[in-house]
């Protein structure tokens, strides 16, 4: 479905990712783990068209998408819940969700997705008219994921959904991620919380200073001694 091929991205002279190749197949949850500065978010930003590639290519369902504008990539069905949530703080929850469906015209489909999002996150339904910026961090994260889902993506990119959340909420978010996947959305998940991510993912890539160090089945990687030592505090 998504194929990232030998992609390099540089900020000025500093290469943030140095030739990354990865693949996401339909129906999977794939996670990208690694420490701070490993290039995880950069990879996501390259996929969603926010950064220009230095070399390499990205294709989605057979079409090249590198070099396209951000909104064209959203139109192709790749929606993102960005790092740091980036909800529209002075708009209501409802308006935020509406903006998530900005490119869509099918009223019924939008209404159905809205219902689905509010079912996944009942808390959002309670706060539907509240200004998003006045909600707690966890609620804002739910909104960020819900807003991305409103675009009816075939591939959902999640950037650090557990960042800064209480442990209870982290569990809840990951449960929801599984649920979204079971409803038919393919997910590419970037996480620092490696254990939680490996637990829900099918496959995983381990990034280290801009390179893919390891990849494979998520269940295998959990017990991999190298991963355990570096990321799981073993």
């Amino acid at each position: 479905m998504l194929k990232v091929d030998k992609v390099e991205v540089a900020y000025g002279n500093i290469k943030a990712i140095k030739g990354i190749s990865l693949e996401v197949n339909k129906g999977e949850i794939v996670t990208l783990i690694g420490s701070n500065g490993a290039g995880k978010s950069t990879t996501l930003r390259a996929i969603s068209g926010l950064l220009k590639l230095k070399s390499g290519s990205i294709s989605f369902e057979g079409d090249r998408i590198d070099g396209k504008e951000g909104h064209e990539i959203v139109a192709k069905g790749i929606c993102q819940s960005p790092e740091g949530r980036r909800i529209f703080p002075r708009m209501s929850v409802s308006e935020n969700l509406d903006l998530g469906a900005f490119l869509r015209n099918d009223k019924e489909g939008i209404a159905a997705d809205r219902e689905r999002v509010l079912e996944l996150f009942p808390r959002l339904a309670e706060r539907i008219n509240q200004k998003a910026g006045t909600m707690s961090g966890g609620e804002q994260q739910m909104l960020a994921v819900g807003r991305a889902l409103m675009g009816n993506p075939s591939l959902l990119l999640l950037d650090e959904p557990s960042m800064g959340l209480a442990p209870v909420l982290v569990d809840m978010i990951f449960e929801t991620i599984t649920k979204i996947n079971e409803q038919g959305t393919t997910i590419l998940l970037v996480e620092q919380n490696a254990l939680a991510a490996l637990n829900v993912a099918d496959r995983a890539y381990v990034l280290e200073s801009g390179n893919i160090k390891l990849s494979g089945n998520a269940k295998d990687l959990i017990s991999d001694p190298e991963v355990t030592k570096a990321y799981l505090g073993g």
Binding site: L50, G70, R86, F88, R90, D98, F102, L103, G151
Partner: protein, 401 residues
């Protein structure tokens, strides 16, 4: 605890007037003013008449309406889309010269009349005022896009500086446009005058038909209000709002950044063009030295002072500042001079007083006279909980005119 609860409750915005209430209010007020000047004023005592002529002359009202038209356009760029534009005078100038080219005897090497009430024997291009409005709007929209396309990729401060440059370049072209390879584009500092009078229902409006012009300008302002409100509640308005809130997030939602920003720029430019044409007919001429940087700044002040993003606030701000500039301050100065037997040249202090007013406003009411609810939230989100809030009552008392 009880105190905190009460403070929080008082922070809640009061139920806002609906847009419909405001629209009805605007029209009623416009009609009332018209009736007052046309039918009531001539029958009042002379002393009262001269007082009105001193403090609220109809020509000042018309000029204020021109400012309203332009300020409403700038509000779309700055208030809706959050793009700081410091060169709005350029569109005002282009609109003005469009009127100069197409409804005067300036191009006397040609003789073309269409829909104009001016005498057919007068050479020059004489088009109907209404047609010139459309042409002016189109030319400005074109220039808005031409200027916007390369510059709108820039972020806030940089964009402001480029627009500032644009606002300087265009008037300079007109000042020096007397001889462009032998072609006289703008008649240089001499300007283009007179401009054809407005024709309406087969009647030509003379320079003293201020009441008719008033109606036309009110209709144009109403048109801009209508456009602003419609765009605001539509898809484009939501996209502008999203960009203003968070450009990156907006792009992630699929908002096409370039196209959306260009649209804001073009719509703003259109209103600048309309204001330019209207202003040319108001002062019966186009004079290059009038298109100064200060126009851009005053317009911006109108938008900010009135309440960015709220058309009614911007309208009140524009009327108020235009009136203070053109009439209020000189009249007030004369009053003081004659009462205290002094000889202070108040209009020369316009910008001093104006600047002081702006500073006070930014200190005590950053969100403007009639703020947009969302912006008010932005301006006060860093206020501490202990209630350092400014009192928000008595808004209505500040809206004279």
């Amino acid at each position: 605890m009880a105190i905190i609860t009460r403070k929080k409750a008082s922070k809640k915005p009061r139920a806002p007037f609906s847009q419909r209430t405001w629209s009805i209010g605007f029209f009623s007020l416009a009609v009332l003013i018209y009736i007052f000047y046309t039918y009531i004023l001539p029958h009042t005592p002379d002393g009262f008449q001269s007082q009105i002529q001193t403090w609220f002359p109809p020509s000042a009202l018309n000029e204020a309406l021109v400012w309203v038209i332009a300020a409403l356009g700038l509000n779309i760029v700055v208030g809706y889309a959050g793009l700081l534009d410091l060169g709005f005078v350029a569109f005002w100038a282009i609109g003005g010269y469009t009127a100069g080219w197409f409804m005067s005897g300036f191009f006397n090497q040609w003789n073309f009349h269409f829909g104009s009430e001016s005498a057919k024997v007068i050479p020059g291009i004489h088009l109907s005022f209404w047609l010139v409005l459309v042409i002016g709007a189109l030319i400005c929209a074109f220039f808005g896009i031409v200027i916007g396309a390369p510059t709108l990729r820039l972020k806030s401060d940089y964009l402001a500086i480029v627009t500032l440059g644009f606002g300087e370049i265009i008037p300079q072209i007109f000042v020096n446009g007397e001889n462009i390879h032998g072609f006289n584009l703008s008649n240089g500092t001499k300007g283009i005058s007179p401009v054809d009078s407005i024709g309406i229902f087969g009647k030509r409006l003379g320079p003293f038909d201020l009441n008719y012009k008033y109606m036309i300008f009110v209709a144009m302002a109403a048109f801009m209000v209508f456009i602003s409100l419609r765009l605001r509640s539509g898809r484009l308005g939501r996209a502008w709002l999203a960009i203003r809130e968070d450009e990156l997030a907006a792009s992630m939602m699929g908002v096409p950044l370039m196209k959306t920003k260009l649209a804001a720029y073009a719509v703003g430019a259109i209103s600048g063009g309309l204001a330019g044409v209207a202003y040319a007919t108001h002062v019966n001429g186009i004079f290059a030295e009038r298109f100064q940087f200060s126009i851009s700044i005053i317009l911006l002040a109108m938008v900010v002072l009135g309440g960015m993003g709220n058309v009614w606030g911007v309208m009140v701000g524009a009327l108020l500042i235009a009136w203070v500039n053109s009439t209020g301050l000189p009249a007030f100065g004369n009053e003081i001079n004659s009462t205290f037997n002094t000889n202070i040249n108040f209009p020369s202090y316009t910008f001093l007083i104006f600047g002081a007013l702006l500073i006070l406003m930014m200190l005590f009411r950053r969100e403007g006279i009639l703020p947009e609810s969302r912006l008010k939230l932005l301006m006060h989100e860093n206020d501490d909980e202990s209630g350092n809030e400014q009192p928000h009552d008595e808004i209505s008392e500040e809206e004279d005119l």
